[in-house]
Amino acid sequence: MIEFRDLHKSFGPQPVLAGLSLKIADAETLVIIGYSGTGKSVALKHIVGLLQPDAGDVIVDGQAVSTLDRDDLTTLRHGIGYVFQFAALFDSMNVADNLALGLRRRRGLSDEEIDDRVREALALVDLSGTEERLPAELSGGMRKRVGIARAIALRPRYILYDEPTTGLDPVTSAVIDRLMVRTREHLGVTGVVVTHDMRSAYTVGDRIAMLYEGRIRQVGTVAEIQETEDPVVRQFIEGRPE
């Protein structure tokens, strides 16, 4: 289970998270929605210890992330896959090496097993045959799918998706959504998805939480959010300017 406990984070004088508290149960997919710049990605980065909180903490499987030493943090990261907003593929490596890099860090995996896992993960995202291609030779949607494959290949317990459909056309977004659902069904992983794409949120989420002014404004099932009477949440999900 992942739990945000009264998380505070500021950048300079600008507070971004101001008491974020939220629980994500095992095997569920929770979608965090919110306006741009409200700290959704910042919250996600705290889960893997890429950022240190000013106060509060993130608890993953009972461990407070900010208190972990380097070795324990490495162990924690072995169980988490992270899909970056712009894929963050290593542009000097081909697709296969991008996927294999994280696997080479795992002890006890032979080269054959790593190759198998790479092929399997690419097949799951419908990108078989792209092993030798460089990231620069891929479209935006393909890059995102390779990013998801890189996370899947690790067989993590948790996958964190940072704006997985941002900048993609509607059809490619739907492909990515289907992929996230398929990943949960096939691997049974717990997912945290940060997005402001409501169609994607409704498709992949078991629950949706809205982050507003550094805190959770409302959290509920997809149906509860769709029927909410909270004016801020309503305005956001309907995409009304006022």
Partner: protein, 266 residues
């Protein structure tokens, strides 16, 4: 009563600005110290940095040879001609060999090659790591349980410290050879005379001093490239600024180190 208050209050913005700069400078020193500590801490993680270090040794070392030898070749030619111009009529001409040898080994070989490589190696390193930083590739490495210090920094600094003395040894040899060829072809100097001058005041210290200095230049240039690259912020503009900064800092540090080792070791 008000006059002194008004007088001093006009200095407040200046004092504040100085204070801000001082705090920023102390913070920067702290960050660099922290970075160096992290790099030292990552050294035992040989399994992570050994393979990328081989790649870096080729990129830093082998790929830098043409530009370094080009500079060294022309330096040797110019040194021989200038020595001849200075010595003619006052000092025996075989001292051309002495000047070419000593200058290439002690100073111009390491420093000129170091400055050239600060541009080539330092800039490309800062640009590469800066791009990785702003495109979240460094964060991605961390989430894959890699320590960026072990995977990115140590291989580069190690390769710089190991390969620079080798490249500069080639540069020194090239400069001496072109100096000898110039003496032979353009000056009225025989090979035995040039070699006599070359051997005249030679001490083994001349060799190890130049090469040791080169190793420190290599470590410094690569470390600066890494520090500046990994602290890049913003997009393409940030990468551009980091690249410029890496070259300027490296060049300044090379000259400071050059003076430092001359004071300490000579």
């Amino acid at each position: 009563m008000l006059r002194p208050y008004c007088f001093w209050s006009s200095f407040y913005p200046v004092i504040e600005a100085i204070g801000r700069r001082a705090v920023a400078a102390v913070e920067a020193v702290g960050r660099v110290g922290h970075f160096l500590m992290d790099t030292v801490r990552a050294l035992p993680d040989v399994g992570t940095w050994a393979a990328p270090a081989i790649v870096q040794m080729r990129r830093i070392g082998v790929d830098s040879i043409p530009v370094t030898l080009f500079i060294a070749a022309f330096t040797g030619v110019v040194l021989a001609l200038q020595a001849s111009y200075t010595f003619t009529g006052t000092v025996p001409l075989y001292f051309v060999g002495t000047l070419v040898g000593k200058t290439m080994m002690l100073e111009l070989g390491p420093v000129l090659a170091g400055l050239a490589l600060a541009g080539r190696v330092g800039a490309s390193m800062a640009a590469e790591l800066g791009t990785m930083k702003v495109t979240e590739q460094v964060d991605a490495l961390e989430t894959l349980a890699y320590d960026p210090q072990s995977y990115l920094v140590v291989p580069r600094v190690f390769a710089g410290a190991v390969m620079f003395p080798m490249i500069i040894a080639f540069a020194i040899a090239t400069g001496i050879v072109t100096g000898w060829l110039t003496s032979l072809i353009l000056l009225d100097l025989s090979t035995p005379d040039f070699l006599k001058g070359l051997k005249l005041f030679y001490r083994f210290k001349d060799t190890w001093f130049g090469l040791f200095k080169s190793a420190t230049f290599g470590a410094t240039i690569t470390m600066v490239g890494c520090i500046v690259g990994l602290s890049t912020r913003g997009g393409a503009e940030g990468v551009g600024k980091s690249t410029t900064r890496a070259v300027v800092y490296s060049a300044v540090l090379i000259l400071l180190l050059d003076a430092f080792w001359a004071v300490v070791l000579l």
